[in-house]
């Protein structure tokens, strides 16, 4: 077993884990933060995307022990209480989700996208940047709209990632 400490959504957490524990398992099973999902085994689908030290990573392809000392933000840490992050609000407003399973990863990827690429995102850029996130429900049409609108809203509220 290995000891691991990190800051998750602004709170310090520690755990004693088998080294083979993935970050996503640590979040879901140890911390019961079940908003981060697992949709594949090959690092393709992106349902597990969280931010580690401000950058989007696939938590199914990251060891928990590798995140010792890191700042982690999950979908649960994005809203400020009941006040949604602009990207979350945009997904609701533009019907960017159906079953909701890929949604946490989509939103975390979208926020990271805006942090890196700015708030004026054209459709082509958004579609390319979503390469690592698979959705089976929406056909992406409304996700693309939601990301574009969410990016604009993030700019107008001056918001980057919450809770960092």
């Amino acid at each position: 077993m290995a000891s691991v400490s990190m800051t998750v959504n602004g709170k310090s957490v520690t755990g004693n884990v088998d080294p083979r524990t993935l970050l996503v398992q640590f979040l879901r099973e140890n911390l019961r933060l079940t908003g981060t999902h697992v949709g594949c085994d090959t690092s393709q689908c992106g349902a597990c995307v969280v931010h580690v030290d401000g950058r989007a990573v696939k938590s199914c392809t990251t060891l928990a022990v590798s995140c010792d000392g890191a700042h982690v933000t999950t979908i649960e840490g994005l809203a400020n209480g009941t006040e949604l992050h602009p990207m979350q609000a945009a997904f609701r407003e533009h019907h960017g989700l159906q079953c909701g399973f890929c949604t946490p990863g989509m939103i975390m990827t979208a926020v990271d996208m805006v942090n890196r690429k700015g708030s004026n995102l054209d459709e082509h850029t958004i579609r390319e940047e979503l390469e690592g996130n698979i959705c089976r429900c929406t056909g992406y049409h409304n996700i693309v709209k939601a990301v574009a609108a969410g990016a604009q809203a993030m700019a107008s509220t001056g918001q980057k990632v919450a809770a960092e």
Binding site: P19, S43, A56, K58, T61, T62, L63, V65, G132, N133
Partner: protein, 268 residues
């Protein structure tokens, strides 16, 4: 994933000693974007995993004379967005920006990619085409001698890639045809021109990993233009064939991607 012991050394020396101690049972974790999925599918089972993430001095990008030097643990995203790389070898920045997806680029590293020598990885094509030098904790290995076969390199037991030094070419670019499913390179072609020398390397297509395409190089040495590649063919022998692409199709795509890479190199 099978159980393993995890160590997180702080120096290259500690890492090397951990690796030596583990002997055949040790693996270096350098981002893990290929290694961890492989371990999850139980296709790799190291007894000791040596995480290089906290080793000092393995990350960073700098210009040294006429070479671009990139630390082994430098992430793809950092290479892709580095102004230094964009100035020195824009084709390399572009290549880094096309590896995997944004989340993968935030964790995967150049050293990991090169040391793993996955036949569908992108960096080996750049390293070979640019005639890079792979600097390890023990020696300097020219790219020509580094990539020795499928997932095989010249690295010896206990040897760790520290940095990669790329001589700056006059022109270089990469064109990648993605596998429709995995999005890895089904065919990736890197072209580099340095003085009168032209190198064309191919990843994703070869049954033994990255390779040079002499016919394309000779044609481009005469004139560095996509037109020079009209009618030039690459033999399908030695190329991969699978459900996504036959060897013939890959052979065809190599020439098409080479043309597109040359066009991009000229445009830059």
């Amino acid at each position: 994933m099978y159980a393993f012991n995890y160590v997180s050394p702080k120096t290259v020396r500690q890492a090397a000693s951990a690796l030596a101690k583990a002997a055949d049972d040790g693996k270096l974790l350098a981002g893990g974007q290929t290694l961890l999925p492989t371990m999850k599918q139980r296709l790799a089972s190291p007894g000791v995993l040596i995480d290089l993430a906290k080793v000092d001095g393995l990350s960073g990008i700098e210009l040294k004379g006429r070479s671009l030097v990139i630390g082994a643990m430098t992430k793809h995203a950092d290479v892709a967005t580095s102004e230094v790389v964009k100035q020195a070898i824009p084709g390399l920045a572009a290549l880094a920006g096309e590896i995997g997806d944004p989340a993968v680029r935030n964790r995967g590293t150049i050293g990991g990619s090169i040391a793993n020598n996955d036949p569908a990885a992108d960096y080996p094509a750049a390293a070979l085409a640019l005639n890079a030098t792979i600097v390890t904790n023990k020696r300097k290995i020219p790219a020509d001698q580094f990539f020795t076969g499928l997932f095989e390199t010249a690295l010896e037991p206990g040897e760790i890639v520290v940095k990669v030094s790329f001589p700056i070419p006059s022109r270089a670019a990469y064109a990648k045809f993605r596998n429709p499913a995995s999005r890895y390179a089904m065919v990736g072609v890197f072209v580099a021109k340095r003085g009168g020398d032209v190198r064309v390397t191919v990843t994703g297509a070869g049954a033994s990993g990255v390779f040079r395409a002499p016919a394309l190089e000779e044609a481009l040495k005469k004139r560095f233009s996509p037109k020079s590649l009209e009618g030039v063919t690459v033999p399908a022998t030695g190329l991969n064939g699978d459900i996504h692409a036959s060897a013939d199709y890959r052979a065809h795509l190599i020439v098409v991607m080479a043309k597109r890479a040359v066009a991009a190199a000229i445009a830059k």
